[in-house]
């Protein structure tokens, strides 16, 4: 891991204000990580972010990007190398989507064919059909679409570093969720170094590789991974800020996998449809429920052990129930929700891969085991705190 951005003992005191907005801040952002700045309103998140592209000049201290002291660089050139996305996008209302996205490449004097290609490529990247959206004005877009254009504009000149100040803050929860997942997928491909400001704890947990929790007095209370933040808050302040719901949040951070995390996977017995029932009885030493799949391994039906007494036909003739599927990689929180809403005493879901093939199974016992192993203090697992 190499360091991309270093904030070295940075302070900022705005003229005329009694207290510094940021005080003796030290922070390192690794190359390719998303670092979230999280904290209450007025704690200095925006100030910290804007000192990185020098929209705000630090009162003291140094900031290095890629080893270069930013104060030695020309500000406009520095900013053209850094993507910048703000709440509600800040698009130029009098310029088309394409012109907005093309702003920095034009400043960098790219050839116009190259700019046009890049604009289309970026529109595809943020899921806006170029032919439809290229020539729209920002006022002709929805809030979510504007924000996508804002992201595309920030990515235009392929900067290594992207600064995002509550980029999804003005969106309704559903659109915000969509854009968050899209952005996570995009980041998986482009691996930018991102500093992401939010005051929404759930957004922070979702977007951040690491999260810096700011205290009210503009110091960093804890800088840690989302999981550590929830399971091992460094101070009562952080614990309070991260808030209750610990169990659910931990589950939200865990992905469903078909390995030792879900021991039920090892016990699952699959049989291809059309197999004669008597062959199964011989193959299995003990009688279990079996999962009937199609010839590609995609789940079709659960057949309960009791039903296997009928040896006359094939598995396809036996009565069964439709299995609930969970795709590997989805969050444990979703999986737990699905399990809890299933009828029966021992609900059981089938884990499938992205092609829909069975790779394991998940039960509530697996979920409980995962919580226990995550290190959440048991007293908090009840989740009665609000």
């Amino acid at each position: 891991m190499t360091t991309m951005i270093t904030l070295d003992d940075i302070s900022k005191k705005y003229p005329g204000s009694a207290r510094p907005a940021v005080q003796n801040l030290n922070l390192e952002v690794e190359k390719g990580e998303t670092l979230v700045l999280l904290g209450p309103s007025g704690c200095g998140k925006t100030t910290t972010l804007e000192m990185i592209n020098r929209l705000v000049t630090p009162t003291s201290g140094n900031i290095f990007i890629n080893g270069r002291n930013t104060s030695t660089l020309k500000t406009t050139e520095l900013r053209r190398e850094i993507g910048y996305v703000i709440q509600d996008a800040g698009l130029f209302p009098h310029r088309t989507v394409a012109q907005n996205i093309a702003t920095v490449p034009q400043l960098l004097k790219w050839q116009s064919e190259r700019i046009e290609e890049r604009v289309d490529e970026l529109l595809e990247m943020v899921h806006l059909a170029p032919d439809e959206y290229r020539n729209r004005m920002p006022s002709e877009l929805s809030g979510g679409q504007r924000q996508r254009v804002g992201v595309a504009r920030a990515l235009a000149a392929d900067p290594d570093v992207i600064l995002m100040d509550e980029p999804f803050g003005a969106l309704d929860p559903i659109t915000r969720g969509h854009l968050q997942s899209e952005f996570l997928r995009l980041q998986d491909e482009i691996h930018k170094t991102i500093v992401f400001v939010t005051h929404d704890i759930d957004e922070a947990l979702r977007m951040g590789d690491r999260i810096a929790v700011f205290g009210p007095d503009s110091t960093i209370e804890q800088l840690d991974t989302p999981m550590r933040l929830i399971t091992a808050p460094a101070s009562p302040y952080v614990e309070n800020f991260v808030g209750g719901d610990t169990t659910m949040r931990v589950l939200g951070l865990m992905e469903v996998r078909a390995d030792e995390q879900s021991p039920s996977s090892a016990e699952i017995e699959t049989v291809e449809s059309g197999t004669p029932t008597n062959e199964i009885r011989i193959a299995g030493s003990e009688v279990r429920d079996i999962l009937v799949t199609d010839d590609r391994g995609r789940p079709q039906r659960w057949v309960l052990a009791d039903a296997l007494d009928d040896l006359s036909g094939t598995v396809s003739d036996l009565p069964g129930s439709v299995p609930v599927e969970i795709e590997a990689g989805s969050s444990m929180r979703e999986a737990a929700g699905a399990l809890l809403s299933m009828p029966g005493e021992n609900p059981r879901a089938v884990i499938v891969d992205e092609d829909g093939r069975v790779i394991g199974a998940l039960t509530l016992a697996d979920v409980q085991r995962a919580i226990a192993e995550s290190g959440v203090p048991p007293s908090e697992q009840v989740g009665e705190r609000v």
Binding site: L55, R79, G90, A98, L107, V119, R134, L163
Partner: protein, 224 residues
């Protein structure tokens, strides 16, 4: 009325056309100077609240001076004719332009300016590419108001022997009851009104062209 108005127009067509054109020149020159000064003052005083207040107070004071008095007071300084005419008209024209330029620039969403700075536009580029185009529709309204006002005030410039259609109005009124006096006044007034309408239409077209250009871009939009 000996002659009817229509005949009066026909008979004096050449003179009236020349007077109207002169009147138009007076208006255009005055407004052009006022736009230059007003916009410059607005830009200069942008982040200086005191200077801005002084500019606005001075130009609104100009506007409250009665027209006759202002033209008259300029005679000892600038004599008669074009000098006092243009000077007085510019003084009247400044306020709407200054005011609307300030309002237009102030109306630009600060987040848009922040974003422009943040992605690396120089201060001059932020102004030319973002602030000015966004302030322009409001500025244009100021220019249109000023132009209409100037078309009408320019008639009063006849008081200081100024050029334009005002002379006919003044002489016509002074000999009212005499032969053709009413026609002389009416013809000049009609031409002043028509000139106002035409200039305003031209400015509206200018507005459409400059506003519409944003929408009409080559299909592959990026190149500008």
């Amino acid at each position: 009325m000996g002659l009817n108005l229509f005949e009066y127009f026909l008979r004096n067509a050449d003179d009236l056309l020349e007077l109207t054109l002169t009147h138009a020149v007076v208006v255009i020159v005055s407004v052009a100077i006022a736009v230059t000064l007003g916009v410059a003052a607005a830009i200069f005083s942008r982040r200086k609240t005191r200077v801005r207040a002084v500019c606005l107070n001075v130009t609104s004071t100009f506007m409250t001076i009665p027209a006759m008095a202002l033209f008259g007071l300029l005679i000892p300084l600038l004599g008669l004719g074009w000098g006092p005419t243009i000077t007085a008209l510019v003084m009247y024209a400044l306020l709407p332009i200054l005011h609307n330029t300030i309002a237009g620039l102030d109306g630009v969403d600060p987040r848009v300016k922040r974003a422009a700075e943040g992605i690396g536009l120089t201060p001059v580029q932020v102004f030319r590419r973002v602030e000015l185009p966004l302030a322009w529709p409001v500025m244009l309204i100021g220019i249109r108001v000023t132009t209409l006002m100037t078309v009408s005030s320019a008639a009063i410039a006849a008081y200081v022997n100024g050029p334009g259609l005002g002379g006919d109005i003044f002489t016509g009124l002074s000999r009212i009851g005499g032969a053709g006096a009413i026609n002389q006044v009416l013809a000049a007034v009609i031409l002043v009104v028509l000139l106002g309408i035409i200039l305003d239409l031209l400015l509206q077209v200018l507005g459409l062209l400059t506003g519409a250009r944003r929408q009409r871009f080559s299909r592959r939009g990026a190149a500008s």
